[in-house]
Amino acid sequence: MGETIASLKIGEHGIIENFSLDAIPLKLLEMGCLPGQEVELLQVAPFKDPLYIMVNGSHLAIRIETAEKINITKL
C-alpha cells in the first residue's frame, strides 16, 4: 500500500512491517523500532520535520527521510 510512518497523522497508529535493512540504521532498531511493533505518531515539529513517535515503549524523534523508509500498516 506504500504507507510509511511519514504518512501517519498525529494520534494515528500503525504496525511496522519488514523494512529494508540497508535503509534503516542499526541504532534505530536498538532503540526499539522493530518490525511487528506498534507505532504512534505523537507530534510533528514545525516545518513537518522531525517526527515524534512512540514505538515499543520508546519515545523517539526521527527525521522524515528515515520515517519515509519505514513501511507500516495503518491501524
Binding site: L21, G32, A45, D49, Y52, G57
Partner: protein
C-alpha cells in the same frame, strides 16, 4: 587486620536513566574528571566505600543505548569493555536501567552480560513505580536474567545500601550469558567463530568482527583470523539486525513473565507538556523567553557578587602593599598574583548561573524538546538539532561545548558546529563586555523593567549567534565533506531537576574552569607583570631621564612619581611591544596600552581586564584601592582630552572581542577533535580578519 581491597566498577546505562545520580550518590564529592589515555573524552571517576574491606573505584561511562557505537562518546564504552588490558577495564559492571524504559535498557544489559564480565542490574526510579502503575517480579527476573537485580531510587537514596551489599559479593555472581546468539542467526557461522577464538566469549568474538576498528589490541595472528569472517559486509550487517531483533524477542519473553504495567494508573502529564513545549508557536516563544531569562539573570544577579569580588581583591592588594616589606617580591604579589587570582575568580558568579540554567534544562528533559523543535531549522544551516546543545553550552565556554558536539553522529554537521561555536558569547568574553558596557552604556531602564546594560549584553549574545549562523551558512555552501545523517533521539520523560545533580555539575564545571583557564590567566598575569616591571636602558634610567626633562618645571612630588611610573611603563618590554603594534591598531581606536591588553588576551580573552588592571596598577603607584572600572573611566586620551574609553573605542573593542578567535584552549581542542591543523587555522585567520575589519569600520563610523 584485613587488607582493604580495591575493585574497578563501571557504571553503564542508557542516557536519562539516572546513572549520574547514582554515581553522585556513590562517590559524593569524592569524584574527579580525568582523561582517557590518548583521547579527550572526560572520564568521571570516584571512590566509594562498599564494605569494611572493599573499596570501589567507580567509573561513570558515557550513556549509550547499545554497545555498538555510533558516536565518539559511545566508543568509550566499547573500548573499555572489550580490551582486558585497558587500564579502565572493570572487575564488575553495574548496568543502570530505568523502571519505565526497562525493555530498551535491557538490550544493553543483555549485550554486556554476554561478554561474561560480572554484571549486576540496577533498576532506578523505584519511587515512580506506583504512580506509573508498574509492578515487577524481582525474584523471577533475577532467575531469567541469571543476575542479581537491585531496585533503587538514586535521588531518594533508597536501596543504595542493598546495592553495596550485593556489590561486596560480586565474586559469586553468575557470569553466564543470557542470549545465545549463535543458533538463531547462523549456526554454522557462529560455530566456526567459536572454534577460532576459544579464549573469548562468543559475543566478544562477534563484537570484534562487527567493530574491527577497535581490534588493535589483538595479536597479528588473531587479526588475520578475523579477516576470514569479515569478507561479506552485507552479511554482517544483516546478522547485526537479526541479533538485535532476537535480543528484543528474548527480552519481551522475559518481561512478559515479570513486568506488568497498569496503564489506567499512568498520568498523562508528559503528552500535555509536549503539546505546549513543542507547539509550533508556543514552543518557540517559550524557548526564546527562557533564553531571555538566562541572559537577564546573568547580568542582574552576577553584578553584586562580581563587584564584591572585585572590591575584595582591591582591598587585599592594598593590604599586601601596606603591610609587606617593600621590594620586588611584594610587587609581584600585589601587582601580579593578587590581581591575577582576582581576574580568575571574578567569572565564577556568571559561570555558576549559566551552568545552573543549562543543567536544569538538561535535567528536566526540556533540552530534547529544543533539539526536536530546532532540527529542521538548524539543518538549513548545515547543522542539526543536536547542535543546539553545544551552541548553548558555548555561551559558558567553547571548550566543553566542542566536546559536547561528540554526540552528533554526522561528521559534516559536527564539523560545522565545531567551527562556528567560538562565535557564541563565552563567559570569557563576559568580563570584557561587562566592564566596557558599564563604562560606555548608561545605567538606565527602558520600558520600566528592562535594564539597558542587560539589553546591550543580550544584543551582543544575539550578534554572536547571528555570526555563528551566517558562518555556518557559508561553510555549508563551501564545505565539501561527505556525510550520512542519522538522527534518532530519545525524548525522555519530564523530571523535576535534582538539586544534588545540578550542584555537582556546577561544581565540576567551575572547578574545570579554575584549574584549566585559571592557571593560564594567572600565569599570563605574572608574565605581564614581569614584562611591565622590566625593560631596556631607558626603563632603568627612567628616574634620571624624567628628572632631566622636567628640570625647569615645578612639580609636586606626587605628580613626579606618576610621570616616572608612566615613563617606565612606556619603556618596559610590554610597552615596547604595545608601541610596535600601535600603528596597526590605531584605525580601530586603540592606543598602545589597549594594545598590550590585546596581545596578552590573545591566549585567553578574559586576560584583557586583568592585563589592563596590571598595566594601570604598575602606572599608578599610590592609590591602590581604586577598582579597575574607576581606573578605566579616568583614563584620558592625551590627544583629544576626552575619555580614552569613549563610545567609539568601546564599541570597536566590544565588536573586536565578539568576533576574534582569542583562545588557545579552543584552538587546541579543535585541533584534537578534528585531527587536523587546517580547521583551527581557518578559525584563527577567518575570525581575526573579520574582527579587524568590523572594528575599523565601527570606529571610523562612530568617531
Amino acid at each position: 587486620m584485613k587488607k582493604n581491597k580495591v575493585v574497578k566498577l563501571a557504571l553503564v546505562g542508557n542516557p536519562n536513566t539516572g546513572k549520574t545520580s547514582l554515581f553522585n550518590q556513590l562517590t559524593g564529592l569524592n569524584q574527579k574528571v580525568g582523561n582517557y589515555p590518548g583521547i579527550t573524552v572526560d572520564k568521571k571517576q570516584g571512590k566509594c566505600k562498599i564494605s569494611d574491606d572493599l573499596t570501589a573505584e567507580v567509573i561513570d561511562l558515557p550513556g549509550t543505548y547499545s554497545i555498538n557505537p555510533t558516536t565518539l562518546d559511545e566508543t568509550i564504552v566499547l573500548e573499555t569493555l572489550l580490551n582486558k588490558n585497558n587500564p579502565s577495564f572493570p572487575d564488575l559492571v553495574v548496568v543502570v536501567a530505568e523502571v519505565e524504559n526497562l525493555k530498551r535498557n535491557l538490550l544493553l544489559f543483555s549485550q554486556i552480560k554476554d561478554l561474561k564480565i560480572p554484571t549486576l542490574l540496577v533498576i532506578n526510579m523505584k519511587d515512580q513505580m506506583q504512580r506509573k502503575g508498574i509492578s515487577i517480579d524481582i525474584i523471577k527476573l533475577k532467575e531469567e536474567l541469571k543476575s542479581e537485580v537491585v531496585l533503587i531510587s538514586a535521588r531518594k537514596k533508597i536501596g543504595i545500601d542493598a546495592l553495596k551489599i550485593e556489590i561486596a559479593n560480586y565474586k559469586t555472581w553468575n557470569t553466564s550469558p543470557i542470549a545465545n546468539i549463535s543458533d538463531k542467526i547462523d549456526a554454522a557461522y557462529f560455530k566456526e567463530l567459536k572454534e577460532t577464538f576459544t579464549t573469548f566469549s562468543l559475543y566478544k568474538s562477534w563484537l570484534l568482527i562487527t567493530q574491527q576498528k577497535y581490534c588493535s589490541f589483538l595479536t597479528k595472528k588473531q587479526q588475520n583470523e578475523i579477516k576470514k569472517f569479515t569478507e561479506n559486509k552485507e552479511q554482517i550487517n544483516r546478522y547485526q539486525h537479526k541479533e538485535t531483533i532476537y535480543r528484543y524477542q528474548k527480552i519481551n519473553e522475559i518481561l512478559k513473565k515479570t513486568y506488568v504495567v497498569d496503564k489506567s494508573q499512568a498520568t498523562d502529564l508528559r503528552s500535555k507538556l509536549d503539546r505546549i513545549l513543542t507547539h509550533k508557536i508556543f514552543g518557540y516563544v517559550i524557548f526564546v523567553a527562557i533564553l531571555f531569562l538566562i541572559f537577564q539573570s546573568i547580568f542582574e544577579w552576577a553584578t553584586l557578587p562580581m563587584d564584591l569580588i572585585d572590591g575584595f581583591f582591591a582591598n587585599l592588594r592594598a593590604l599586601a602593599k601596606n603591610n609587606l616589606p617593600t621590594g620586588a617580591f611584594t610587587n609581584l604579589i600585589a601587582e601580579g598574583v593578587i590581581p591575577g587570582i582576582g581576574g580568575v575568580l571574578i567569572f565564577i558568579p556568571q559561570i555558576t548561573i549559566l551552568f545552573i540554567f543549562i543543567s536544569i534544562l538538561e535535567e528536566t528533559g526540556y533540552m530534547s524538546r529544543v533539539v526536536f523543535l530546532m532540527d529542521k531549522i538548524m539543518r538549513r544551516f548545515g547543522m542539526g538539532g543536536k547542535s543546539i546543545i553545544p551552541l548553548i553550552s558555548g555561551t559558558a565556554c567553547a571548550i566543553p561545548a566542542i566536546m559536547a558536539s561528540r554526540n552528533i553522529s554526522s561528521w559534516r554537521e559536527r564539523l560545522i558546529t565545531i567551527l562556528v561555536i567560538p562565535f557564541t558569547t563565552c563567559s570569557a568574553r563576559l568580563p570584557v563586555y561587562a566592564i566596557l558596557i558599564s563604562i560606555i552604556i548608561p545605567q538606565k531602564r527602558v520600558l520600566g523593567i528592562l535594564n539597558l546594560q542587560g539589553l546591550t549584553l543580550m544584543g551582543l549574545y544575539l550578534l554572536g549567534f547571528t555570526a555563528a549562523i551566517l558562518s555556518a551558512i557559508l561553510l555549508n555552501y563551501v564545505l565539501k565533506v561527505k556525510h550520512r545523517s542519522l538522527f534518532a533521539i530519545e525524548m525522555p520523560n519530564y523530571k523535576l531537576p535534582s538539586i544534588k545533580n545540578i550542584f555537582y555539575t556546577v561544581v565540576e564545571k567551575v572547578k574545570a574552569f579554575i584549574t584549566g583557564a585559571g592557571s593560564i590567566i594567572l600565569a599570563i598575569s605574572i608574565i605581564l607583570w614581569f614584562l611591565a616591571s622590566n625593560g631596556a636602558n631607558n626603563f632603568k634610567n627612567a628616574e634620571k631621564i624624567v628628572t632631566t626633562q622636567t628640570k625647569n618645571q615645578t612639580i609636586s612630588k606626587e605628580k613626579m612619581h606618576k610621570k616616572i611610573a608612566s615613563y617606565k611603563l612606556e619603556n618596559s618590554y610590554i610597552g615596547m611591544m604595545g608601541k610596535t603594534i600601535e600603528p596597526i591598531i590605531k584605525p580601530m581606536g586603540y592606543d598602545w596600552k589597549i594594545g598590550i591588553a590585546l596581545i596578552s588576551s590573545f591566549a585567553a580573552r578574559e586576560v584583557f581586564v586583568g592585563a589592563l588592571a596590571t598595566i594601570y596598577n604598575v602606572e599608578s603607584d599610590n592609590d591602590n584601592t581604586t577598582t579597575i572600572k574607576e581606573r578605566m573611566n579616568s583614563e584620558i586620551n592625551p590627544k583629544t582630552g576626552e575619555k580614552r574609553f569613549n563610545f567609539a573605542t568601546g564599541m570597536s573593542l566590544l565588536l573586536f572581542y565578539a568576533f576574534a578567535m582569542q583562545c588557545i584552549g579552543t584552538l587546541a581542542i579543535v585541533k584534537r577533535e578534528t585531527k587536523s591543523w587546517k580547521w583551527p587555522i581557518l578559525q584563527l585567520t577567518g575570525m581575526g580578519i573579520l574582527a579587524y575589519i568590523v572594528s575599523v569600520l565601527t570606529f571610523t563610523f562612530l568617531n
